[in-house]
Every structure is written in C-alpha cells, then in structure tokens.
Symmetry: C2
Subunit: 191 residues, 2 copies
C-alpha cells in the first residue's frame, strides 16, 4: 500500500493516521514483541479487519509507522548550506532517539531487519531515507559545496554509521561536538 | 574478574574455557533471552555455583564470552602497513558476523547495551576494543602513515560505524569493495 496514493483529509487518511498513532503508542507500551494487530485496532477504535486489510502483517504495520514518524519527526531541513542542513538533520535524529518513542522505533527496526523474509519491506523504509539523502546532496552539489560525483548514501553512512554505533553499541555519548566533527570528516572524506 | 589474572593451563583456566564455550553454544541454541547460568553450567559439566561465583549475572557471563571470542576470532593483524591491517581486521570482523555464532554475539551485545544498569561492564568490553585500536594506530603513526594527532577510536568508528549500520540496520551488503572504500575514506578523513 503506497501511503502517498491516499487522499489527505479523507476518511481513509483519518483511519490511517489513527492506526499509525495507535501503533506508536502500542510499541512504546508493549514493545515490538508484545505488539499485535488486534491490540492496535482496539486502541485505534477500528475493526481488526480494517487494520488487517491494509497491513497484513505486524512488520508491515510497524514499518509504515516508522516511515511516517521518521518523515514527521526528522524532516529534511533546507537552510541554504550543507553543514547547517546536516547539523540540524542529525541533531534532530539524535534527539528523536533520546525520546522513548524514537528509541522504541529504532529497536523495532533493528529487530525487523533480522527477519530475512522481510527484506523488500525493509528496503522500502531505507528507500525513503535514500531519497532524503539524494535531495540533500543534490542541493549541496548545486551550490558547489560537494563534488557532483558524491554518492549521497556514502556521505550519510559516514555520519549516521558512527552515530548509530554509539547509540546502539558502545553508548559513547552523541553530543553536538561529536556530530559536528563527524560532519566535517564526512565532507572531507568524500571531497 | 580479570581474565588475564588467571594462570593459563591451570584447572581454573580449563573451567573458564569450558564455561565460555558452553555460553557460546547456549547463546547460539537458545538466544540471549533463553540463556541462563544453570543451562550453561549443565552444558559445561560444572556446578552452578562454580559458574555463579565467577559470573554473578547472565550479562557478566555473556560479556566475558564476547570479549574472549572477539579476541580469538578477530585478532589484531600486524602486516606492516595500515591499509593491510585495517583490511584484514574488518574483513575478519564481517566474516565472523556472517557466522551464526558471531551474529548471536553481536545481537546479545546490542541487547546488553540497552540495559543501563550494565554500563560499567559494557564499557569493559569496548575498552578491550579501544586498546586494539590504539595499538593499530600507534604502529601506523610510528611508520608515518597517520598523523600523530590521530584519535584511534575516531578512525575505527568511521569504518566500523558504516559497516555495523549495514549489518544491523539497512542490510546493504558488506563486501570487500565497500570495506576498502570505507578504509580509504576514513584515512582521508583523519589525515
């Protein structure tokens, strides 16, 4: 189900929004293991079949919720220069992860990624992030801040990789100094 | 319990080795959730109290096993130049993760990292990895391959971060081409 095909403001869109919101709340309350389509339907106040028809699996539902909430919570900034855009983008991401809801979503994403039967849907989530990276880099190339050969995801991985390694593995603090330095290094590495 | 304080080859060391091996097997068979000190003791053929005295918690035991197996499976190479050392080190790491035992350990490490009451022990695991990074960078600085101002963990994060983000989150393949490029970029970024 492509979310962009749904007319905004219609009943269908209202149902979608309340189901996505209920998914976020359930995930926060029960975690990924405890979440079920039935619980989400009950919380959203809609029939189980209404949820099931659009999101035939728990992973499908969680992933759509993660796509939605990432777009909403971590939008692509457009401040007129590359460093400012990257700074705001990654600071917002780290702040979103510091909130219980953000952390619950990232953990769910890591769990879903382990499920190899779900590779296509996982790719869909990241496709959405790749597009953001492409837009950000295209603007910077247009302003002459990056070489036109810059591989957008390569740049993002150099900043996001060390950041997620800290947040998920080493637990070394992610502060503004770390992010600023990571951004400088990433730009130097691809230039 | 400092593992290095134990005389190698003694009975104490033999017990330690069999408990660590049993932990690895249990983790592979039952996963982190299913693992218990009692099951590990049974598999290792030792008394529960023998395990409990040295490893008073499941996290402590799993972490010691991860430290041991990382040292054994992903040793620091010494090939005479920085690029070769980094290449072999990270290829071996990616290969170890491709094995079921390696993946089980990394997942356990991510789960343990979520437990904030376990911050000191987690730091101990990474301390072991920081020392490896320091030795690797010190040698390269000695050969004039890196500036003496190089922050060892900063260099490692620029390669390991994008690698773990692929393995745990995006599932973009980690191949030799990716690792070689990540290594070149990391060296450029810190130079």
């Amino acid at each position: 189900v492509s979310t962009s095909a749904i007319r905004p403001g219609g009943r269908s869109e209202r149902v979608r929004r309340s189901v996505i919101a209920a998914t976020a709340e359930e995930l926060l309350e029960s975690g990924y293991e405890g979440l079920s389509l039935a619980k989400v339907a009950r919380r959203a106040g809609v029939y189980y079949m209404t949820v099931y028809r659009r999101w035939p699996s728990k992973n499908r539902l969680v992933l759509d919720a993660v796509i939605d909430l990432t777009r909403e919570r971590v939008p692509l900034p457009d401040l007129g220069d590359l460093r400012s855009d990257l700074r705001v983008y990654f600071r917002t991401m780290a702040e979103a992860y510091a909130e219980p809801r953000g952390a619950a979503f990232v953990r769910a994403l890591v769990e879903i990624a382990d499920d190899t039967t779900f590779a296509n849907e996982l790719r869909e989530y990241w496709q959405d992030r790749f597009l953001v990276a492409e837009e950000l880099v295209a603007r910077a190339v247009g302003r002459g801040e990056l070489p036109s050969s810059t591989e957008p995801w390569g740049l993002i991985e150099l900043i996001a990789g060390p950041m997620w390694m800290r947040l998920l593995m080493t637990h070394i603090p992610v502060d503004e100094e770390f992010l600023d330095r990571a951004i400088e290094r990433a730009i130097r590495a691809v230039s």
